[in-house]
Symmetry: C2
Subunit: 327 residues, 2 copies
Amino acid sequence: MAILGGASLKGKELKEVLEERLFPVKKLTLVDDDEALGQLTDFEGEPAFIQRVAPETFTENDLVFFASMAGAFTRAHWPQAAAGPAALIDLSHALLDVPEAVVRVPFLDEHLQPPASARRWFIVPHPAAIALLTLLVRLQATGRLRQVVANVFEPVSERGAGGLEELQEQTVRLLSFKEFPRAVFDAQVAFNLLPRYGAESRVHLEEVEDTIRREIERCAPALADRLALRVLQAPVFHAHCLSVFVEMESSLEVSAVEAALRGERVAVLGAGEAPAAPVDVAGRDDIVVGPVLRDQKRPATFWLWTVVDNLRLTARTAVDIAETLAG
Amino acid sequence: MAILGGASLKGKELKEVLEERLFPVKKLTLVDDDEALGQLTDFEGEPAFIQRVAPETFTENDLVFFASMAGAFTRAHWPQAAAGPAALIDLSHALLDVPEAVVRVPFLDEHLQPPASARRWFIVPHPAAIALLTLLVRLQATGRLRQVVANVFEPVSERGAGGLEELQEQTVRLLSFKEFPRAVFDAQVAFNLLPRYGAESRVHLEEVEDTIRREIERCAPALADRLALRVLQAPVFHAHCLSVFVEMESSLEVSAVEAALRGERVAVLGAGEAPAAPVDVAGRDDIVVGPVLRDQKRPATFWLWTVVDNLRLTARTAVDIAETLAG
């Protein structure tokens, strides 16, 4: 087994989930780009070094995870991997350009019916796509969904360790009225809300929006047609928040919405409970939703506040896919 | 003329706008609660002290602004003021409970037709209510609005100097892994997004939501029925952001939406321009909107990203009202 992007935030989280889930791993190779070479880490108590990509990375492994934060590293190496015997699990969204790669969320298999593919190439959706798919397929089962309007708040950890450092450094410098770094976002992310990054940013929020939209479309085209989506950058280190407005074809009780949402990997907070915030969900595998709010005047519409640990949900879904392959 | 809450963020901003607009003021009395007594400030280059509320505050002034951040100070003193000769302009939303008080945005008078009242008691709407009213009455004129879904991001300056200090202090302490203060929000506001404050907070986000909703309803009941609203607390010092999704009855060109929105007190950013963020609008009187985005598949729906300097828009609208009274 190999993790490409083994030194990234996603790669490290993936390693942790594999350990926690006691996933049967004969040998784990952690691979990353030159910057991370030689870094020492550990797996199941044994020391492990970050290595360079080599021809044997793809001939000797039967499972390869692509866990870099951006897609470039995946795009550089996946053709080599695809030529070998390995099943591929992509956490970087780069394989979205490959039609044979299947976008998959195993705990939603019964709803999403992933397309049959001759290849064992899988894409782990963006955490907000996983959350939206989960909420929407379950709501769909209660009656016809008319429309969904979702605002997704991206945390800086989606831009990797560089994103975390830039928010922290900007914060410290702004508080002492100094010039601040903008290498990652090319914009002030601290104490601000951004609908777009600066022009010089290597990644753009439009691309994140496009990724989420395409992943939902690949899994559930009928739902994608009913979804209006906007992605905003929040000055938050970890966890995605989603402010989701749902309009059904006809009125529905709050309790019916709660009952529909409940199920594997979803925690629904009741009317009396305090809603979760990003800092509340660290380390959780589940999607935290609620309390579900309904407008008295418009009883077919609901607000679903939703929070997920982004790195954790991504890593857990990748391991879920690996478990279906192993089983 | 008197400003009650003269030491508050709103009171100070109001004083600045009165000076800038060269509003004819014979004598300005700045009044606040005991904490602020004796503070030195200035008005048109003359020193001015914050004074205690006295009987003559209400007998000697023909215009009284209620500019405290929370409504309690207004509620304590407005009956005294109402018994005197003064026109009252409330920036604290407390007079919403008084049916004769008129919710007013002068530059929208032609659209909103404020109810006639025997009293000269006015309420300045919440900045998000002003922004939503402005966008919606202008869109309404282009064709029938079907539905509006608005997420409003409240900055900490709406909770006064205490809110600003708490965000700053939480930020500094979190970065050094220390316990942090929570007297204002009773929750972690730094590096977080909150759908609700903690139970011990003196103000609650539900009340802010309720204020915005009621103010829109008082001005434009037909629009209020079409509006779904959610208020979220962002770790931002100043300026409101609104992520507004609009569904019209039938499809419309982006250029038609832009043309409808343009007008007094609104700046519309074009497709090629970078959208504004909170840190971009400091000191601006106008409502900054755009670029307007349309979904190709659903040409009757639009996203309108909107940013306003909250204190400035509030103070400017209060002075607008004062100017209509003076004229």
